[in-house]
Every structure is written in C-alpha cells, then in structure tokens.
C-alpha cells in the first residue's frame, strides 16, 4: 500500500513537471508565444471559411454555421495533436526512459495533456465567437466538459496504442498522418450531416458512429444550436447511440493493455 501511494505520488509530481516543461518550451523563441495556440486554429478556420462557406456555399441554411465549423476544427485539431504527439512521446522521451525508472504511461499522458490544455483554451475562444455571433446559450452548455473528457479519453487510448506501435515501427507516423487526412473528410467537419444525408442517409448515420464525430456533433448541439444531428436525435434507435461510447471504452481497454504489456521493454527497444 505504501509502495502504491509512493508510486502514485511520484507519477503526479512527474506528470505535473513534464506538462509544465512542455508548456514552457512549446513556443520557446516565438514572438507571439502562447497566442499561437489560439491563432493557428483561427487561421485554419479563416481558410476553410473562405473556401467552403463563401465560395462553395456549404452550410447554407444552417444557423451559426461559421461558429459550428470553428468548433469542429478545434475538436479535430485537438484529436490530431493529442494522438500525434502521444504517438511520438515514447520515442521522443526515450532518453528519460532509458535512464530513469518511472511509470511509462506518464510520457503519453503528459504529451496529451499539453494538447488538452490547448483544446480548452480554444474552446473558450469558440464560446466567445459564439456569443459574438448571437448564439443563445442553453443549459446544455454544461454538458460540454463531459464530451471534452470523452474525446480526451479516446485520444489517450489511441495514443497508447499508436505509441506502442511507433516504438517498434517508425512507419506508423506516416500511416497515421495519411489516415487522419482521410478521416478529416469522413467526419462531419466542413460538410454538414444534412448534405451527406441528401446523398446517402445510411452513410451519414454510419459517419456519426465514430466517437470523434459524435463528440463534435454533441458539442455543436450543446454549445451552439439544437439544430444539429447527434447520435441521440438522428440514428432513430437509442441503442445505436451508445456505439461511440462503447468504441471509446474498448479502445481504452485495448490500448492501455497493449501499452502496459510492452512498456516494460521500451527502455530496451528504443
């Protein structure tokens, strides 16, 4: 018991310090510093907004489409950043793993927490934009943290799995990059669900089953407008609505088990 508490205490101390250091170093040497963590998604948003909303007239007839697009981009960016950095964390921190004994999951968690902090800051910006855009907040805003936690858990689960693979095969980073590029377009970020449904209703329903899509839609629903298709109001069967959640749980169990089994050998592998 004493040993367990000691281990827990060590993990907490180390995690705190690693996240702090990560944060300090992230925008080291840049003039705008932390502002970049807000500016980057805003710039990406500006591009997508001009291309898709102004020129291609996506989202016509959907209330607050611009804010809705920004919210989705912020969510997606978080997931991409957390999984990408989590994947590389074991190798990046290889120096530590080879010289100090500590619970290995710390490196993955610390890498994803940095992304999470960014995410929360960005969501605050989204909320400000929503207010400026005339969104009337409802009580459902209080549900947003739950979805943030769900997305975080999913990202960590994926990061556990990917980091284990990445320690063995460096190709994974390239594969994952391409995969994420593709996944971006099959997730309702730019293209509204209604537009896909006009082509294929089944496809639009399947799309929503991905945990990332579910969280994006739920955050849109609870933060911006009730006129959003979510797993609850769109799939028809409430049992299907639990599929994304089940996927998250399975991912966490599988990811952490694989990670734990292999983590003992990390120091020798990398």
């Amino acid at each position: 018991m004493k040993k367990f508490l000691g281990k827990y205490r060590y993990s907490r101390i180390l995690l705190k310090e690693l996240v702090k250091t990560d944060f300090k170093l992230r925008y080291q040497g840049s003039v705008l510093g932390y502002l970049w963590s807000v500016l980057k998604p805003l710039m990406l948003f500006a591009i997508l907004y001009v291309v898709f909303v102004r020129f291609l007239h996506f989202g016509a007839g959907i209330p607050h489409y611009a804010v809705s697009l920004l919210a989705a981009i912020v969510c997606w960016n978080f997931f991409a950043e957390a999984t990408g950095q989590g994947m590389q964390s074991v190798v990046v921190r290889g120096d530590l793993l080879r010289k100090i004994s500590f619970p290995k999951y710390i490196v993955v968690v610390s890498a994803t927490i940095s992304a999470l902090i960014n995410f929360v800051i960005n969501l605050a910006v989204v909320t400000v934009f929503a207010a400026l855009n005339g969104v009337v907040f409802r009580w459902t805003v209080l549900l947003v943290p739950l979805f943030v936690i769900e997305l975080y858990i999913f990202a960590v689960a994926v990061a556990f799995f990917l980091s284990t693979l990445y320690a063995k095969f460096r190709d994974i980073s390239h594969i994952w990059e391409v995969f994420m590029q593709g996944a971006f377009y099959v997730t309702p970020i730019i293209v509204p669900v209604s537009m896909i449904a006009s082509m294929s209703v089944v496809a639009s329903k399947i799309m929503l089953l991905s945990p990332v899509a579910q969280v994006i839609q739920d955050i849109r629903y609870s933060l911006i407008t009730a006129q959003t298709e979510t797993v609850w109001n769109y799939l028809g069967n409430h049992i299907f609505a639990f599929i994304p959640l089940v996927i998250v749980v399975i991912a966490l169990v599988v990811g952490s088990t694989i990670f734990r089994k292999n983590s003992k050998k990390f120091a020798e592998m990398i």
């Binding site: 180390l14 705190k16 250091t21 004994s101 095969f169 460096r170 020798e268």
Partner: protein
C-alpha cells in the same frame, strides 16, 4: 529482508534478444521476413548475479566495458526488467545512470533543478528545501536565472552532480560520475564522498573504472567479467584484482616472429603474483632451440604503468648450450626498495657468441606481479599523488 540490508540481488539473469537484422520500419521487417531473417541471437549480459549490500555500505562495482555493469545498474534502478532472479531494494533509491538526465538547454538553471528533482520523485516543496544546498554545492548561485545552454559544460556537470548528491535518498546509485569539474570542485566531491563513507544511513553504489576511487571510498566491491562476478569482497582486493586482470590483457601482442633459432619461449611465475617487499620471486623459463645456441638469458622487471625497466639480471655467457629443450629456473629476492606498483617480467635469450638478442617474451606472455608493501602508509596511493618508484629508508631526526 533484514533491516540492515539495503539491496539484495539474487541469481539475477538478463539477456537481450538482438535481431540479426534490426527492423524499425515495416518494410525492413517485411523484407527480413521474406528473406528468412527471423532469428534473434541471444546475448547473455548477466548470468547469475547474487550479492547483498548492507546499509551504510559504499559499494563499488568494477569491470571492463561490456562486462554488464551498466545493465546491472539499470536492473537495480528498475529501468530494465530481469529475465529471472530477484532484486530487493530496501528504502528509497535514486539512480544516476547519467548526470543531468532531462536537463534542457532552453530552461534556466533554476527550472532544470526542479525538473531534475521531479524526475527523481521530489515535489516542489521538497526541492525548495534542498535548493539552496544544491546551488551552493554547485557554486552557481549567480547563474541560476540563466538558460542552461549558456552554461559552460563544466558548469552543467557541476549542477547535475550537485542535484545528484544533494538528493535525499537512502540509496544512491552513481555510474561513472567521478572526475567532473575543476580541481576545487573535485576536492569538494572528494570531501562529500569521504563524509558518506562514514555515514551509516546512506548507502552508495558506485560504478567506476577509477581504482584509486574504489580503494579510497568503497568498503566493499565486486568485479564483473562477462556477466559473472569474479571477485567480491573488500574493495582493496577487488581493485587489485581488476588492475591485475587489466594488465594481463593490455595487448595481445604476438611473440617475436623472428625465428633466429629459438622457439616457444615461455616464462612461468612460480611464486605468488601478489607480493610484498620481503617475498622471493621465482620463475621457470623454457624454450626450444633449433640450432646449437650458446645462450645468455636476461630478464627485466618493468614498471607496467610507466613502462620503464626497474631491475635487471642476466646469466653468464654461454649459460645454456646445445640444441633442444631448455628449462631454466630463476629465483631472487627483490631489493626491499620497490614501492607499490604493477610489475611485468620480460625475459630475453641472447646469442652470446654473435652478441645479439634472438628471442624475447611478448607482453602477453610475460608474467605480471603486483607489489603491495605492507610497511607503507596507503594515503599517498589514495590521493593519486605519484609515489616514488623506490622506497628509501633514510634517517629522520628532530633538532
């Protein structure tokens, strides 16, 4: 586990599976698979290690490169998992496989101390309490606000070393960290280790190549060779064994390849290889001649560190004659003058008619001895102040 034991290692085995061709890309793994390279070769690094370290011990681990020292430290520190065997650590253990792990050039000295502290498991509060003593020991108070990348390498090492030794822990594991910083800092480290030697609460495990340090600080030591313990006991004995072992394999030089009529010149030391100033030494020299040689044998006893001949002896001309096998015995008292050193005995065969050297022993074939006087204070040796080659016994008087 008994209370007075700090570390207990029992029958420890560790081997690495090294792939015959390493695959860190899928393509390579695939190609290897196609080509049938699936094998690993198993490299045994530690093979049945058992020892215990008592509380308050200053324990040295010595061994050549590749003997398994670092792997053992990593196992003790919990970085590697043992294949089999048991490691029991009693108390908190802080290990320094390398100084300044996690140090980041972009952070200030102050921030690095806290980061390094966290890696060792200390909370901000605990480091607050240690901070002043770390900075004072490193003598870097004026620089703590600066980024580490602007430190000189000596300053970086000093900071890292101070973090290491100021860390409050029951057991401290250090790998090759002596001899850092300038002379003044060295002296400080020396004082610290001297202090720890007498401290019964702190256990230190030190891996080093510096035999003077082992003798000076450690009370116990072990020597590893090819993953096995070949010496375990008092630090003096282990350090001597290490020096001795190293000496014997300095160069695998080939014997003189010239064939001037003498073959298979061999020298065997019949007396013990560890002697004191009153001991006798005796040798057996054997060789074969392929022609009728009228030989004079001579021998030189060299100081192995300085590579100078200290003593010389020779037979009369035409001491051994004829064709065939010759066996010659030699015995002598060493003059009681030789101080503590490592000695090598070289033997040569000379043609006493032609007046030329026709065979001599190679370094690898020459017997090695350790002189360890029993009448000299050992202080000089510990401080590594060069001691005289000979010990004289003059008359000291006070006026």
């Amino acid at each position: 586990m008994k209370d007075n034991i700090a570390l207990e290692v029992k029958d420890l085995h560790k081997s690495f599976r090294l792939p015959k061709e390493h695959a860190s890309e899928i393509k390579r793994a695939f190609i290897n698979f196609i080509r049938g390279i699936r094998g690993y070769h198993k490299q045994t690094v530690l093979d049945g290690i058992s020892f215990t370290v008592k509380k308050g011990d200053f324990f040295g681990i010595v061994g050549k490169n590749g003997s398994g020292k670092s792997t053992m430290l990593k196992l003790i520190s919990g970085i590697y998992e043992p294949d089999s065997g048991m490691i029991n650590v009693n108390g908190s253990l802080v290990s320094f496989i390398e100084l300044g792990v996690g140090f980041n050039g972009e952070l200030t000295g102050h921030e690095n101390v806290y980061l390094n502290g966290a890696l060792m498991g200390f909370s901000v509060k605990e480091i607050d309490a240690m901070y002043d003593s770390i900075v004072d020991f490193a003598e870097l108070r004026d620089f703590m606000g600066q980024k580490l990348k602007n430190y000189s390498s000596g300053m970086q090492v000093r900071l890292a070393f101070s973090c290491a030794i100021r860390a409050k822990s029951d057991i401290l594991v250090l790998d090759e960290v002596l001899a850092v910083g300038d002379e003044a800092f060295q002296r400080k480290c020396n004082d610290y280790f001297e202090e720890m030697k007498d401290n019964n609460n702190k256990t230190i495990i030190l891996v080093t190549h510096n035999m003077a340090a082992v003798k000076q600080y450690c009370n116990k030591a072990l020597m590893l060779k090819d993953g096995k313990i070949i010496a375990l006991g008092s630090s003096e004995d282990v350090a001597d064994k290490y020096s001795f072992d190293n000496l014997q394999s300095v160069v695998e030089a080939k014997a003189s390849e010239l064939d001037l009529g003498v073959r298979d010149l061999k020298v065997k030391l019949l007396s013990p290889n560890r002697i004191n100033q009153t001991d006798k030494i005796s040798l057996r020299i054997t060789y074969k001649t392929t022609r009728d040689v009228s030989a004079r044998i001579d021998l030189s006893i060299f100081d192995a560190d300085r590579n100078v001949s200290l003593l010389y002896d020779e037979t009369t001309d035409a001491f051994a004659r004829g064709k065939g096998k010759h066996t010659i015995l030699y015995e002598c008292d060493l003059p009681r003058l030789i101080n503590d050193r490592q000695l090598i005995i070289y033997v040569a065969v000379n043609d006493s008619v032609a007046e030329e050297r026709i065979a001599y022993t190679a370094k690898a074939d020459s017997p090695v001895m350790l002189m360890r006087r029993n009448d000299v204070k050992k202080i000089d040796r510990k401080q590594e102040i060069p001691v005289g080659v000979v010990k004289i016994s003059g008359k000291w008087s006070k006026t």
